[in-house]
């Protein structure tokens, strides 16, 4: 069954990635937007694991672990930034944060 899973998983990965991109463009709440970025990272993880599975190299697993750590670190900082933004502006609607432009 390996072959079918492999192809399907790659396409699933691309799909999740695309949904993540769409989320970044469509979601209008900073946290939802950032969740979409997490989705994109998950898509990349899936691709890693799939490739590792296909080629029988376990390095993929390690890479995924590291990427998860990075995602966690990014999430921590990101949410802190959102809190700081919320404190200043009292909302997180991304389309209203357009003080800097031009």
């Amino acid at each position: 069954m390996g072959e079918s899973i492999f192809e399907a998983n790659l396409i699933l990965s691309l799909f999740l990635f695309t949904v993540g991109i769409l989320g970044v463009m469509w979601k209008r709440n900073a946290i939802s937007l950032f969740m979409s970025v997490e989705l994109m990272l998950n898509a990349a993880n899936l691709a890693f694991v799939t490739f590792a599975f296909q080629h029988g190299i376990i390095d993929g697993g390690i890479l995924v672990l590291f990427i998860m750590t990075v995602a966690a670190a990014e999430a921590g900082v990101g949410l802190a930034i959102f809190i700081a933004l919320f404190r200043v502006r009292r909302h997180l609607r991304v389309d209203e944060h357009d003080m800097l432009h031009g």
Binding site: T18, F53, I81, F82, V88, M99
Partner: protein, 186 residues
């Protein structure tokens, strides 16, 4: 049988992903994301990456998403209702382009992918099964040998993240008073 399970899982993942995208309620959207991550964990199990699947559950659903939900609840967020016209336009073009993007790349990957696992993979898999070495031992060995540099640097990354998160999230002044900026007042 395994294939059937896999395709059901595939469908669930897609549905949850779309749920993340289309749910207006932020909390629901976050829960859909948890669903995606859990489904991916099962997917990893199918691909015999038990440890990674386990970590996926623990780190993503257990830690990151809880953090997300916590912040969402804390700030009491909702998707806004009205939308400016230019954003509508950007949304439309973004959506159209995404479709093109996804279908082209999926097709290209489909066409260019050499089906099937490599012979080495089958051999390796068999060998791992025979020797009975747990995957986690392999991973940890690799982690402190081949991938020692990322391993160490990750710790520094976490340190940076901790400092950064603290500095951004802690309250402004010693007296604990929030100050709204002059610019906003004006």
């Amino acid at each position: 049988m395994a294939l059937v399970i896999y395709y059901v899982l595939f469908g669930i993942t897609v549905l949850f992903a779309l749920g993340v995208l289309f749910n207006r309620n932020t909390v629901r959207s976050a829960i859909c994301l948890v669903g995606v991550m859990a489904a991916l964990a099962v997917n990893y199990l199918i691909m015999r990456q038990e440890f990674v699947a386990f970590i996926q559950i623990v780190v993503y659903t257990g830690a990151i998403m809880v953090l997300f939900l916590f912040v969402i609840m804390l700030l009491n967020l909702r998707e806004p209702e009205v939308m400016p016209w230019y954003l509508r336009k950007a949304r439309f073009w973004g959506g159209a382009l995404s479709l093109v993007f996804f279908f082209t790349l999926a097709l290209a990957v489909q066409v260019w992918t050499v089906s099937g696992v490599t012979p080495g993979a089958i051999e390796n898999e068999a060998f791992i099964k025979e020797s009975g070495t747990p995957e986690v031992i392999l991973l940890s060995t690799l982690m402190i040998t081949k991938y020692v540099a990322p391993f160490i640097l990750t710790s520094i990354l976490l340190l940076v993240a901790v400092i950064g998160a603290i500095v951004m999230a802690k309250r402004y002044d010693e007296d604990g008073q929030e100050i709204i900026s002059e610019e906003e007042v004006s």
